[in-house]
């Protein structure tokens, strides 16, 4: 795996809408590198004879009946929103951001 650069982390932070200071960026480059290195151990697993899988349990067709269950109230739904208006989630303008 290619080394994680400071630019990579800045790009990811931008995509995830996380505001990082220069100091935090430096710290994250180091921490994320350690995490990736740890996870990379998985790549040593002997998988030559193993089918790719997307789920650890051999289950199929887990469904629920088409029956309405209570929803959140609008107040509850909006309680985690940094800003709301007209009972809607307020989000930064969508175009011309890049």
């Amino acid at each position: 795996m290619a080394d994680l650069t400071r630019a990579d982390v800045a790009h990811l932070a931008g995509l995830a809408r996380i505001d990082l200071s220069d100091a935090e960026l430096d710290k994250m480059v180091g921490e994320l590198a350690v995490i990736l290195e740890s996870v990379a151990t998985v790549q040593q697993a002997p998988i030559a004879d193993v089918e790719p899988m997307s789920h650890p349990m051999p289950l199929v067709n887990v469904t629920r009946p088409d029956v309405v269950r209570p929803s959140l109230t609008p107040d509850e739904a909006l309680s985690g929103a940094p800003e709301s208006e007209q009972q809607r989630f307020s989000v930064p303008r969508i175009l011309d951001e890049e």
Partner: protein
């Protein structure tokens, strides 16, 4: 990002088709009519107050676990079967990742390379009676997105907005996306084929009762991919994708417009940019949207929170057994059974009266009476309210039984045609059953021939000239006398009986 606001040059349709063959691909999104969303138990009602139909699953809150709606999967399989598709023995959902606030999860749960249904076709009947077979690439399950309201711009459009307000009631409603293979060889009929395909698909889905397929409410939406290839070429040209073409008429117009625009660009030595285009219903043109040259990377991967869908072959066959008769075949069968001319049948179909006429005939009316009474006055009133006849009839409580009763009042000789019309108006005005209206309004043909004969005598005496003409053999003059007899009887007479008596008295019977 490039944005073009003004209309671009276009070539006339005929000029365009002289040099190019259009290739189309249609993507139709259909909202299923389930009670609940695709992955959670939130209701799916249209027009609810904002953010009243959300929960941790469809808001993408941490720790929420989606579970698939069983009815949505069944509907997807039924749609696949109705489109003559193969049904996957095993398939998965995938995350389509993107950063856009219409999905709070930052991904849409969709299907990627394992659609539930694939490789089908739909035969589409064209105006001239010929058939075009549309090949279906796939039909897959996914979820709808939230609705954004753009604030701060002058027109409510996304451009110039300062911020956007999002309602997630629609986020997570089950969607089936139906994708055609490239449609070639339609030539100058490409716009008609596109429209006929969407119309046929809509009728089919409606007959299956899987969606209310209301294009004006967005429960059926169409994206039009179009490219042109030169007549001597063997590879497709660059395509554009025109989004949200949401009426049958617009599908036809958008195809026609893009053919002319592509042809103008290509004929002047230019090249088509692969991009998304926006359809403008009011002006009938498309304008440039997102440029797709950076090839959006949705980083699809299998959704780890959902297990695969693996419908057994038995369950698929059981669902096949629930498919209704295809609408086109059904129309042909009913037309033959009812003895309607092509034009009569087309009027019945276009007015959305097929089911109502069928129910009315089943209730005992003649097909001709069913067609007659559900057209005319009731259609005029329904139009006035901007609804179709079945909805209007349901609202005012007028039923097939009313038509049966009205017809029997005519065949039994109690009412003539003009009285029956009055009785029907009374029924539509909420005055009760046809018999009740006839009683209340005193509508009844006079059966007393004595009264009728007296009226005839009076009219003959008052019109000696006309009477002489009839005696001399000019039988067609009888009409003038019948009218007067009817007036004399205040309309409560059988015109045929009046005619008979007049002719008898004047020696012509």
């Amino acid at each position: 990002m490039t944005t073009t606001t003004g209309p671009e040059p276009t070539l006339s349709f005929d000029e365009a088709l002289a040099s190019f063959d259009p290739v189309m691909g249609l993507e139709v999104h259909v909202e299923l009519g389930t009670n609940t969303k695709m992955f959670c138990g939130c209701p799916t009602a249209f027009g609810a107050e904002p953010n009243t139909q959300t929960c941790p699953v469809c808001l993408g809150l941490p720790g929420a676990l989606p579970v698939v709606n069983a009815v949505a999967v069944e509907s997807a399989i039924r749609i696949g079967l109705a489109l003559n598709c193969s049904i996957a023995e095993w398939c998965r959902f995938a995350r389509k990742n993107y950063f856009y606030p219409d999905m709070p999860k930052n991904f849409q749960t969709s299907q990627y390379d394992e659609p539930i249904a694939f490789d089908g076709y739909l035969d589409v009947e064209l105006e001239d009676g010929s058939t075009y077979r549309v090949q279906i690439e796939r039909a897959h399950m996914e979820e709808d997105t939230g609705k954004s309201l753009h604030v701060g711009g002058s027109t409510g459009r996304i451009h110039g907005a300062t911020h956007s307000l999002v309602d997630y009631n629609r986020a997570g409603i089950p969607l089936i996306e139906i994708v055609t293979k490239p449609m070639t060889g339609a030539g100058e009929r490409a716009p008609e084929v596109a429209k006929a395909y969407v119309a046929t698909l809509r009728d089919l889905l409606k007959a299956m009762d899987v969606s209310d397929v209301k294009m004006e409410q967005g429960s059926m939406r169409c994206d039009v991919n179009l490219s042109l290839m030169r007549k001597d070429a063997d590879v497709f040209g660059t395509r554009t994708e025109t989004k949200n073409v949401n009426s049958l008429r617009s599908v036809e117009r958008a195809v026609r417009y893009e053919i002319g625009r592509h042809a103008a660009v290509l004929s002047s030595g230019g090249s088509i940019t692969q991009e998304t285009r926006h359809w403008h219903e009011d002006t009938g043109i498309t304008t440039s949207g997102r440029v797709k040259s950076d090839a959006e990377d949705y980083r699809y991967f299998p959704e780890p929170d959902l297990v695969p869908v693996a419908p057994s072959r038995e369950s698929v066959e059981a669902l096949r057994g629930t498919l209704p008769e295809p609408p086109a075949e059904r129309r042909k069968r009913l037309q033959a059974a009812w003895g309607f001319a092509d034009l009569e049948m087309r009027d019945v179909v276009n007015a959305g009266l097929v089911e109502l006429v069928e129910e009315t005939v089943a209730a005992g009316a003649s097909p001709a009476a069913a067609r007659k009474w559900w057209s005319g006055e009731v259609a005029r009133r329904a139009n006035g309210e901007g609804v179709d006849v079945p909805s209007y009839a349901a609202r005012i409580g007028v039923t097939p039984a009313h038509v049966v009763e009205l017809e029997s009042l005519v065949t039994s000789g109690r009412l003539n045609d003009s009285m029956a019309r009055q009785a029907w108006e009374g029924v539509l005005d909420g005055e009760g059953t046809p018999t009740a209206v006839a009683d209340a309004r005193g509508l009844e043909l006079v059966q007393d021939t004595g009264a009728l004969e007296a009226a005839v005598d009076t009219v003959i005496a008052a019109n000696p000239d006309v009477a002489d003409k009839i005696r001399d053999g000019k039988v067609q003059a009888v009409g003038a006398l019948i009218g007067q007899v009817m007036r004399e009887m205040k309309g409560h007479a059988d015109a045929a009986a009046a005619r008979q008596i007049i002719l008898e008295k004047l020696g012509q019977a």
